[in-house]
């Protein structure tokens, strides 16, 4: 069974806040749920599937279902970090195709900015029962220095430069200036990126995404329902997933999980990189974007640095405009999880709702 055209994205909402000390975490989940339902033209009672991940307070989906007053017949709290919400879209489509629900609500929210969280630079404490914890925690891995090792290896293998990586931030900043809600709205230059302080070599401060409060929500529904609503229909064509790991110590940073996940998604959808006029890429760091571009086949392995340089990712300038809302690098990275907002901007593009300067 394929999910191709089995379901549609009928509602989206991105919370306009980037700093929400005056709101509770559960409240943010409720506000984005309400926003996405209003966008779709559906009501709370229509929701019969609910999806959330580790950012949602409580045990799996249970506390949020209670708080939101939902009565779902299908729930899923798959948590694989920031990409959870992409899996949720895929799983919602599967559930709809299997007749397990008709209207699926996916929510994300978080408050790392108002909580003063050192998202990328402080080691995270992991329960001792997590099997890798004792073999990693003593060495103080952080989000930043782990991605930095990927960048360091790419530079070693392919001669990729800090200036090439910087172009990714530059492109995001060109888009963010049109987004009134973006946290960082100033256009930056390659020089400004490479001259910003090193966080974890070779990544600089401006190679990193923002830390923001906020959230977003998505409504996935069956095509018959989507066609009865007011918004343009956005079809789901394919998806792929692939958790990558240390492979028993055969650590290989030359590829990411998206290489095989992407292969499955392209195959299911029946489209190819050359068909794409826009792309949403996860952008925790500049290197994250470059690795996806290579592993999804937008260019040859190792040529990502050349591909992203000279404005190739800037809307109206280059061949592959990406994250035209400014992405996580400049606009929003709610709950330190960038997956959901990537879906939102892709839907805005498909509906013709993206900023006119970035369509």
């Amino acid at each position: 069974m394929s999910i191709k055209r089995a379901a549609c994205i009928a509602g989206i909402y991105e919370h306009p806040t980037r700093h929400a000390p005056d709101k509770s975490l559960a409240q943010l989940h409720a506000e984005v749920a309400k926003g996405a339902l209003e966008d779709a033209g559906l009501s709370k009672d229509d929701v019969d599937g609910y999806f959330c991940a580790g950012d949602a307070p409580g045990m799996g989906p249970i506390s949020m279902v209670d708080y939101l007053g939902l009565k779902p017949r299908h729930v899923d709290s798959t948590d694989v970090g920031g990409s959870s919400y992409l899996l949720h879209v895929s799983h919602a489509a599967q559930a709809i195709a299997a007749g397990k629900c008709d209207v699926a609500l996916i929510t994300l929210a978080g408050k790392p900015r108002s909580e003063g969280m050192a998202t990328g630079t402080a080691p995270r404490i992991v329960a001792p029962s997590v099997p890798d914890a004792q073999f990693e925690q003593p060495y103080a891995p952080t989000i930043a220095n782990m991605y930095a090792m990927v960048a360091m290896r790419h530079m070693h293998d392919w001669g990729t430069t800090s200036e090439q990586l910087a172009w990714i931030k530059v492109a995001a900043s060109h888009h963010a200036r049109h987004n009134p809600h973006a946290l960082l709205r100033n256009v930056v230059t390659v020089e400004e990126v490479v001259n910003s302080p090193l966080v974890a070599s070779p990544l600089h401060r401006l190679d990193c995404c923002v830390i923001t409060d906020g959230g977003g929500a998505i409504i996935v529904t069956r095509p018959e329902i989507a066609r009865s609503l007011k918004k343009p229909v956005v079809n789901i064509l394919g998806a792929g997933e692939s958790p990558k790991h240390t492979d028993g110590g055969r650590i290989d940073l030359s590829y990411t999980g998206i290489e095989s996940a992407g292969r499955r998604a392209w195959a299911e959808a029946g489209v190819k990189p050359a068909d794409m006029k826009y792309a949403s890429f996860y952008d925790s760091f500049t290197i994250t974007v470059l690795k996806q571009i290579e592993d999804l086949g937008f260019c040859e392995k190792g040529q990502g640095g050349k591909f992203v340089a000279d404005g190739n990712l800037i809307s109206g300038v280059g061949k592959l405009p990406f994250n035209t809302d400014g992405g996580g690098l400049c606009s929003n990275h709610p709950a330190n999880r960038g997956g959901l907002t990537k879906v939102l901007e892709a839907v805005r593009q498909l509906r013709g709702e993206a900023h006119p300067r970035c369509r």
């Binding site: 060495y139 103080a140 974890a200 028993g248």
Partner: protein, 129 residues
């Protein structure tokens, strides 16, 4: 630039891994090897992650080379994290210590040293040969 001393979080061993940390306290670096397929792996497990075969502890020469690294500058005491490919086969996460951080390089030969964590138990780290 030389490293300032960093507070090294003590590893929390369990029954599956106690021998590894006992060996570290005694100045030896161990890996696990599969009795069925013969492959070494890291981090150590009771059952082989490649074939689910039973495993045994194996001594290493404590040497390897840097596969990748990063110097964490945004920290109270800057430190170098790395993946070290052991001569014994697997690649492990570690820190590169007792050296000039600006001279660390991918491919560099390193050897294990044992540094005390915040409860006194030793943690294997690496320094250039």
């Amino acid at each position: 630039m030389m490293a300032t001393k960093r507070n090294i979080l003590a590893p929390v061993a369990n029954v599956e891994t106690q021998a590894y940390w006992d060996a570290a306290d005694a100045g030896r670096l161990l890996v696990k090897k599969c009795l069925a397929c013969g492959e070494p792996h890291f981090y150590p497990r009771a059952l082989c992650p490649f074939c689910f075969g039973e495993t045994e502890w194996q001594e290493t020469n404590g040497e390897g080379e840097i596969y990748s690294f990063s110097v964490m500058r945004r920290a109270e005491a800057p430190y170098a994290i790395a993946f070290v490919k052991l001569d014994a086969g697997p690649t492990m996460m570690s820190n590169i210590v007792d050296c000039d951080f600006d001279r660390i390089a991918i491919g560099q030969r390193v050897k294990v040293v044992f540094q005390p964590s915040n409860n006194g138990h030793k943690v294997p780290m690496f320094t250039p040969v």
